[in-house]
Symmetry: C2
Subunit: 532 residues, 2 copies
């Protein structure tokens, strides 16, 4: 028997249901939180969340809140939360944010109740092909064939979720097996926590040689390389070789500020990204995938790096931070001399007057508390904030990794639950916030210290830009209607208060500074509409 | 060339894009409305909605609003609307309501933009397996392989959607083919509109014989049999044979009131449904499927009708109304003598004082305008309303056919757009309303005459019932939290006004009568929170 086994057989004298075995195995595997929107076929699991200790249940009013929260939780906690979703349609509502989680390599344990196994053949109203829905967003899918199965499969699912680079693992648990009382204890051996693979020294040496030979280099950091260690090592490489550093465009979690190097994100539009990489003779990927255009545009290549320039230092499943350190060492790059501060450089001339996205970026950066988490969704203020935040206090930025909209508020929920001692800011566009607006209620219920900042410009601005790229600079009535949110404009204060979140509205830099400082000081959830 | 072809080649001198061909083919096939939440890969289609006449674009803030609206539209208009959704994740957000639409046999044309075909291999962030997501809710799935394909496949998709019993047809349109300008016109022959199959006279005669032989009968009406003709024919059969009539438990659209027979719905819980059918020697299915338990409960059979009792008069794809008429004729059942009124019986003693679900049912029934459409979701007031509405003015009730929550408000949007001259009431539970609450904004933008009534009891009451069925009459803290909406309670007036919908709150029968009468008279969207 390994050190890590489920302990329930020692704790129980009576029978144990399949649902209890599932929850106990999850808890023994390190799962502490369950983001849930259950239905009838999950009732034994709901009961088990009380009869088995160790897993905190958090209710979402909509499944996309649960899956996005599990993603945000994983990015901060570095381990899986559980989601509990109702059959195929409930799971379907969570797919968009599981798509983002997949691109973020976030470990998640999805548990879906299904009809009792003997009831499935009758094709009752809620029956559907759950596996077909689950596969596109799951690195592992399993369906329990018995109550005893629930122990083995839960352990397997969590292990799959935790295997680098991390993935969503989806376990389908028929209601009868959840409910069944097991006649004898089940001893599940939990596999050891898998570690990231180390990069082969030959790979490091061959890249070091090209750098020593003077090739013009860009280092693109992503995934596990974007922590403090990886960034500091990358800065050593840059200092020694003149290499340019970029973060991948949509990092799952990037440490930033407090003296860390100013890693800009590789630009979004392909022309600009291609220009940024054009001079490179070697594009070194450290935890990042080869950069490709976000969308395909006629006449613009999909691959953004110059031909034959790409060298993989570390894949997303490997230990990119250590690989960067090894590369810096191989280059004989000296350690940095400056000591890292964790606080912000003073931005003495904060902009006042009518708000612009640039002003928002600077003000939010200046007011960020130390170790804040910033969940960024939407282009309007997202890019200006990232640009301005290099000199902010040390913080972690979460971005929308998969492009499925509705990620920012739920991720903020999950991040706040993963790190109760850190302040969370959700910097959010108005259009995107609407997809999972129900997250505000969970913030209120759990009294999470999340300040939501809504960039309120009352348009799908990114689509106006895309229409213009298609030559539609003056959209017709349907195109105008499909890209405008002005008629009627949302009353953000009404919506926030409707969910129990105190709210304010600001139109100037001065007001934003005042309200943001107040909101951060008060604790608990707050929302500020920023009229742009 | 058939009578029904696309006409665009006559109307255009210049080139036409694939997107324009798609929209024109859809319009020529009878599509008049597009419920859209587009993104970058749908921009040529957005432009085409302006350059090609005939399709009205309606924006939803969330894709589940679009698909639920298309379902509601189809149930009232009897023909497909189009949805326009963004890639896999956007489509995924629409799956839950497409699941309901599948169970309602609603014809829908789903159009999903995908990455440019040449960009797909690079697995950009938003790439996913759309077909795997689409199959479980689509009777037809097609992916265009060229711009010219978009004409043929659109015609094929609409034909598939319209083929009885009706289904969702999902067309994946890569962005490059949408954008491509076609060198020459494409002549698409549109297939004739398929009709419902007539039931074989042998089937009718064999059932008539069993009824003449005196077998105790239940007739279960569903789908196409639930219109006026089918119900009147069923009433003749009941009068001639003593048969009991039921509607299927969750009809897609049931005509009711105004002198139609009082067809109760087959009960929801299996014990009660089994008891309702227990005495039947023959259970005649007219457009309904064989009744099965909604969920499987230990020790209760899945099949609800007595063994060997089921006789299929008509399947959902057949003309059930005509089959019922033929059966009534075969039985020599006399035509009804009473003339149908379309207005309500007077309910002179409407309940006052604190609101109960029963009081809500009676008050709403009494105040229903003629030809109103009632979109019902949630058990709290849904069942009491149905019971009370037999004597209401003639109206159409839409129910949640597939059990995927979040259907009621979007279906009300679609119904209102399908029938602009009819009042719509969305009778909605508070928990269910939260899944697609963004529908309120579309009601405000389109100024739809929808009165939303929220049954506000601040719990997932159905789950409390299910917990009790599992022996959990005193739920533990997690189970209590996962089934309560009280902390914090929603401010429904704040939420509604936040989306531009005027709102009121009532606590008594008197107040509900006053506010409902006012809301119906004012036109445009209104919301009334009914505190229970």
């Amino acid at each position: 028997m390994s050190d890590r086994t489920t302990g329930w057989q020692a704790n129980r004298s009576g029978g144990t249901t399949g649902a209890e075995v599932l929850v106990e195995t999850a808890a023994a595997s390190g799962v502490e939180v369950c983001f849930a929107n259950p239905g009838t076929t999950e009732m034994p699991l709901v009961s088990a969340l009380d009869s088995v200790p160790g897993v905190r249940a958090v209710l979402g009013l909509f499944e996309g809140v649960c899956t996005g929260a599990a993603d945000g939780y994983a990015r901060i906690a570095g381990k899986p939360a559980m989601t509990l979703l109702h059959l195929g349609p409930g799971f379907a509502n969570g797919i968009a944010n599981l798509h983002n989680a997949r691109r973020a390599h976030s470990p998640i344990l999805n548990v879906i109740g299904d009809h009792a196994s003997w009831h499935l053949p009758y094709d009752a109203a809620l029956t559907s092909d759950i596996v077909s829905l689950a596969r596109p967003v799951s690195g592992w899918v399993g369906t329990a064939g018995s109550a005893a199965d629930l122990a083995r499969l839960t352990a397997e699912a969590v292990a799959a979720a935790n295997t680098p680079p991390g993935c969503g693992a989806t376990l389908i648990a028929p209601a009868d097996f959840q409910q069944e009382v097991l006649p004898a204890p089940i001893d599940v051996e939990l596999p050891p926590l898998p570690r990231r693979r180390q990069v082969d020294s030959g790979v490091i040496e061959s890249i070091a040689k090209r750098l020593r030979d003077g090739e013009r280099a860009v280092v693109l950091l992503g995934g596990p390389a974007l922590g403090e260690r990886g960034q500091l090592a990358a800065a050593r490489i840059a200092a020694a070789t003149g290499a340019t550093l970029y973060s991948e465009t949509y990092p799952a979690a990037a440490e930033r500020g407090g003296g860390l190097p100013d890693l800009d994100r590789l630009p979004y539009f392909p022309e600009t990204a291609i220009a940024a990489l054009a001079d490179a003779e070697i594009v070194i990927l450290a935890g990042a995938l080869e950069p490709v255009a976000y969308f395909g545009y006629e006449g613009i290549p999909s691959l953004l790096a110059p031909e034959d320039s790409v060298a993989v230092l570390s894949t997303p499943e490997e230990d990119g931070a250590r690989a960067l350190q090894a590369l810096a060492d191989a280059l004989g790059a000296p350690a940095p001399t400056a000591t890292l501060s964790t606080s912000a450089a003073t931005d003495t001339e904060l902009p006042g007057g009518p708000l612009t996205p640039q002003a928002v970026g600077r003000i939010v950066s200046a007011l960020l508390p130390e170790r804040a988490i910033v969940s960024v969704e939407g282009g309007t203020c997202g890019y200006p904030f990232f640009t301005a935040s290099a000199n902010a206090a040390r913080h972690t930025t979460l971005t929308n990794t998969g492009g499925a909209i509705g990620q920012g508020l739920p991720a903020a929920v999950g991040a706040a639950i993963a790190a109760p001692d850190r302040k969370v800011i959700a910097l959010q566009s108005d259009g995107s916030a609407q997809y999972t607006i129900q997250a505000l209620w969970t913030m209120a219920r759990e009294q999470l210290p999340v300040v939501t900042l809504i960039a309120s410009n009352r348009t799908y601005n990114v689509l106006r830009t895309e229409l213009a790229r298609h030559g539609q600079t003056e959209p017709g009535p349907n195109a105008a209607a499909l890209t405008s949110l002005a008629d009627p404009a949302f009353d953000w204060q009404g919506l926030a208060r409707g969910y129990g979140v105190p709210a304010a509205r600001v139109e100037t830099g001065e007001a934003l500074r005042r309200e943001l400082a107040r909101a951060l000081a008060e604790g608990g959830p707050q929302l500020i509409e920023m009229a742009l």
